[in-house]
């Protein structure tokens, strides 16, 4: 719990306190759990994707354009989030804020498109109760969306703390951990993009 006495200037600030180091490692382990969590959802989706009952097939409703926009929004947000950490490590609070807020905005944009996409599907007759395949789709993609939502809320909370307290070993560790979370959501999206959308479209169009 105690803060390390040696403040090695070469070590990024988030690693300078014992708490920071412990929390960062703990969060990595948590991400391990998240991998298992999303894997289970992916497995469910892979098993059920053909079970469309009377509803539309999955690939039928997917669209490349919306998908590309969503993907670029999230990929870019992951990049800007990385830049924010880069700025934080240069002790540039302004840079940190600029890039983190950009990240949040991109995340919000992504969420907006996702919600719009869900509305389109529901309008076309595919909702969570349509068939096993659509249940799996909505819960898998929805879980990712929920993670993004929580991530946005969480980053905002942490930015408020940074604004109040400045860069300390504790706040920087928090920012760093939230950035890990954000990048991880991008990793999950890469697989959603591949396993759900691309595979769905490949299956549909051959």
């Amino acid at each position: 719990m105690a803060q390390s006495k040696v403040r090695d200037l070469n070590t990024p600030m988030e690693y300078q306190s014992e708490t920071g180091r412990l929390n960062i490692l703990g969060f990595w382990l948590f991400l391990g759990a998240e991998i298992a969590l999303f894997s289970t959802l992916f497995a469910t989706y892979m098993v059920l994707m053909d079970r469309t009952a009377d509803g539309p097939a999955l690939g039928e409703l997917f669209e490349v354009k919306g998908l590309l926009i969503q993907t670029f929004l999230l990929l870019t947000s992951s990049f800007t989030c990385g830049l924010a950490i880069h700025e934080m490590r240069r002790y540039n609070v302004k840079g940190l804020f600029f890039w983190m807020i950009t990240t949040i905005l991109l995340g919000l944009g992504f969420l907006g498109f996702e919600i719009y996409e869900f509305f389109v599907y529901i309008h076309e007759g595919a909702n969570i109760g349509t068939s096993a395949a659509w249940s799996a789709f909505f819960v898998l993609v929805g879980t990712h969306g929920l993670h993004v939502t929580l991530g946005i809320g969480w980053i905002i909370l942490i930015l408020i703390q940074v604004a109040k307290r400045g860069l300390t070993p504790q706040t920087t560790a928090k920012v760093f951990i939230s950035s890990l979370y954000w990048h991880f959501l991008d990793v999950v999206w890469i697989f959603l993009f591949t396993a759900v959308y691309l595979m769905g479209m490949v299956m549909q169009h051959g």
Partner: protein, 128 residues
């Protein structure tokens, strides 16, 4: 490692820029490969999943500093890498295992028209 990391904090974050450009390129390539080429479904799936894994590795290494937190901080980096690798193992077991177990043998869903037999083995799927 620590010195190395600190040196990177100055100037343009090349690691991030390269990671970003690569991820865009990989994404576009995956879309093009999946939707615009005429290869068989199996090859397409193999390639796009391969690309996804590469891209995930990019995120972990370029953006998330997976290997960081190492020597000076008591070797957490190794734990982190081990953890992610074991996670990868579990993920493969869960996804490939479930698909394999639930779609082989008599347990597969009997197709309505007799000859349309559908078999999925080890994650690769035939749907034609």
């Amino acid at each position: 490692m620590a010195n190395h990391a600190a040196a990177q904090h100055k100037g343009i974050p090349w690691k991030h820029v390269v990671g970003f450009v690569l991820s865009i390129v990989l994404t576009l390539f995956a879309i093009w490969f999946a939707l615009e080429t005429d290869l068989s479904t199996n090859i397409k799936l193999l390639v796009i999943f391969g690309l996804a894994i590469i891209q995930a590795a990019l995120q972990l290494l370029m953006f998330m500093h997976l290997t960081e937190n190492s020597r000076t901080q008591g070797f957490s980096g190794r734990i982190q890498i081990g953890n992610i690798l074991f996670g990868f193992f579990v993920a493969i077991v869960i996804v490939v295992g479930s698909v394999w177990v639930l779609s082989s043998g008599h347990a597969e869903k009997k197709p309505t028209n007799g000859e349309h037999e559908m078999k999925m083995d080890s994650g690769s799927m035939n749907h034609d």
